[in-house]
Symmetry: C2
Subunit: 109 residues, 2 copies
DNA sequence: TATATACATTGCAATATTACGATGAATGTT
DNA sequence: AACATTCATCGTAATATTGCAATGTATATA
């Protein structure tokens, strides 16, 4: 099938999975890291930086935008993309909640 | 194509993306949460718990195992799966490094 | 107005993922 | 030995993802 049965899972599980899927590509990780480092940027920079075609990068940016991780504001001909701080810490919390659920000390098996 | 150009990115970026991909399915999130909660379990439980076919769950378990997040030890007829604490905190660190790179205070744009 | 620049969108080909029935392998039970 | 139970693997169908050329759109500049 290739289609996920989301109705079997909780909203939190589906949400976390969806966010993880957006992070599940090195180009999107690279874009985020570049945004973090430069604190603002435009698509043109990324084509130079990443070595992927402009269309491909635009598509990755759209996915990041759709999850709300980044926002783009038109600046004349180019677009300034930057990380949404609210959404960023929201997502950070999602992962932290998952990871901190497991007590580091225990070793079963 | 459908094939990721991993050679364009750093090893860290590819690794993080790969781990994120494993977390990018609600069934695998649910499996991990169930493992965290019960601290040990077998496949049979999960079929009841998740409502997916046994073959499907076995496949998800394999993906989790391949990334090293969980380990399975044969226990007679059944298999005890549990989270690998070392790998777990390794992955936790990967995400923490990504998230903490962004200073919460700044708001650009 | 004509042209250049910076993205976004569309359409397509190649590959990956999801789900499951059927079957196989291993262990336990009668 | 015959059967049941538990899980893994194989094969397959449906859908999703990745990447890019081509094209579209909007703004700026000559």
């Amino acid at each position: 099938m290739g289609v996920t049965k989301t109705d079997l899972f909780t909203e939190q599980q589906n949400e976390l999975a969806k966010v993880a899927k957006v992070l599940a590509h090195p180009a999107r990780i690279a874009i985020l890291q570049y945004l973090i480092q430069s604190n603002t940027c435009i698509n043109g920079d990324l084509v130079q930086e990443l070595g992927l075609a402009q269309a491909t990068i635009s598509q990755h940016l759209r996915e990041l935008k759709e999850t709300g991780i980044i926002r783009g504001s038109i600046e004349g001909v180019s677009v300034n993309y930057c990380i949404d701080p609210i959404r960023w810490s929201e997502i950070q919390n999602l992962f932290e909640t998952l990871f901190s659920g497991f007590p580091k000390i225990t070793d079963c098996c």
